[in-house]
């Protein structure tokens, strides 16, 4: 999502809701993928992340009550693998990813979101939008800090963590 200096409160809420909803769906999808490849540690973490983002989505929905939120077409925002990571890209997942990687991915998401909301706060034209963006930025930063603490409980992955001794490639 691009920071824009003309965002109204409704615009900001609409974009934030879209972003959070997509993130929840993406974490759910990743959890399902990890179930399929028998990586229960990563699956459990992704489900936990989805619940956390789901709670934040509910808060933003509550803030949006009584407002008419504008429709946002997918191409009106540009979070994707190459540019932003407010929503984790599909290619971020790996079937051998460890809890460390899973939390690192989520930290990137929060870092990117915090940066974006700070930019919006700085360029916002109204106090209402500024205050809201400030709150979202703080929330993302706090969650990032919590995730960093949580990640520190997990060992650093080995250098060759993605070395598969039973690879899917046809070798014979």
């Amino acid at each position: 999502m691009n920071a824009s200096n003309s965002l109204s409160k409704a615009d900001l809420l609409a974009r934030t809701l879209t972003m959070l909803s997509e993130t929840v769906e993406r974490y759910d999808l990743f959890a399902d993928q990890m179930d399929v490849v028998n990586n229960p540690e990563a699956a459990t973490l992704f489900r936990w992340l989805s619940e956390k983002q789901g709670s934040r989505t509910q808060v933003v929905k509550k803030l949006s009550e009584g407002l008419t939120l504008p429709h946002i077409s997918p191409w009106d925002y540009d979070w994707d693998d190459a540019i932003n990571t407010e929503v984790p890209g599909h290619s971020s997942a790996h079937y051998m990813m460890t809890p460390y990687h899973t939390l690192s991915l989520a930290i990137d998401v929060e870092q990117s979101a915090a940066r974006l909301f700070s930019e919006i706060e700085q360029t916002a034209q109204t106090d209402e939008t500024k205050k809201l963006a400030h709150g979202f930025a703080r929330e993302a930063s706090e969650f990032r800090d919590y995730l960093e603490h949580k990640r520190s409980e997990h060992p650093l992955p080995e250098k060759d963590w993605d070395e598969d001794y039973d690879p899917p490639q046809l070798l014979e």
């Binding site: 990743f30 993928q33 191409w75 540009d78 994707d80 693998d81 290619s91 079937y95 490639q169």
Partner: protein, 279 residues
Amino acid sequence: MDTVTQCPSLKPKDYKSGTKPVWCPGCGDYSVLLAITKAMAEMSLSPENVALVSGIGCSSRLPAYLNVYGFHAVHGRALPVATGLKVSRPDLTVLAAGGDGDGFSIGGNHFMHACRRNVDMTYIVMDNQVYGMTKGQASPTTDPDWDKSKLTPGGTKINPYYPLVIALASGANFIARASSTDPNGAAKVLVDAMRHPGFSFVHMLSPCVTFRPEQKDWKKMVRSAPVEPTTDPAIAAKRLMTDDNFFLGTLYKGDRPAYQPELKATVDNISELDKGFIL
């Protein structure tokens, strides 16, 4: 497309079937699935008025994951099935989908003639330059020096197939490229493709993270084409012949009328139908 029935309240996830995809984590096809659902939601299509026909391969699993009519056809034969469906049910929004092997090798002949016939439908080819489902063999779009398969030691040494050039030469009415690394941009291309009359071909770059892990770098290589879509085939030909395979966007928009044969009256009585089979 003027036969669209609108269904304004649906969100992208409403177009998903609930069946969990079994693609590898990191596969580009997840993004393509998302882009298709976003495009359908944006066009407010009613699921019962949409059909997606696929061939065989990883990407051809798509119909199972969508909440629209679907048909998982024979290898390389998505296009003839989709063509038959569209000409007999012109009210439907018809999409065909598959991979580069399915579409350009096994179904290569159908691809050319579907472009030539110009029936109003959209064909999405998820190109990862490899046969993934059969564990990593060179496909028609594989670079000649790709040597990771034991079946082609030292690489194929054969020029790759240029699907966009073939599509233009064969008469496709809409030619675009999108990338799974940008599902939102891909959704826009798909909406444009579905709205454009005639045969629309969308070349969708979709990395195979298992057998072509180096394709993860595609996200750094793709970029928007610095040109507007042209209606001039000569300009399009030059554009596509000098293309490096990473320009995204709509590259050609033709104005040929879509092919739609006149439909015969429906047979009300089964015995009337039987008469046609009497020897």
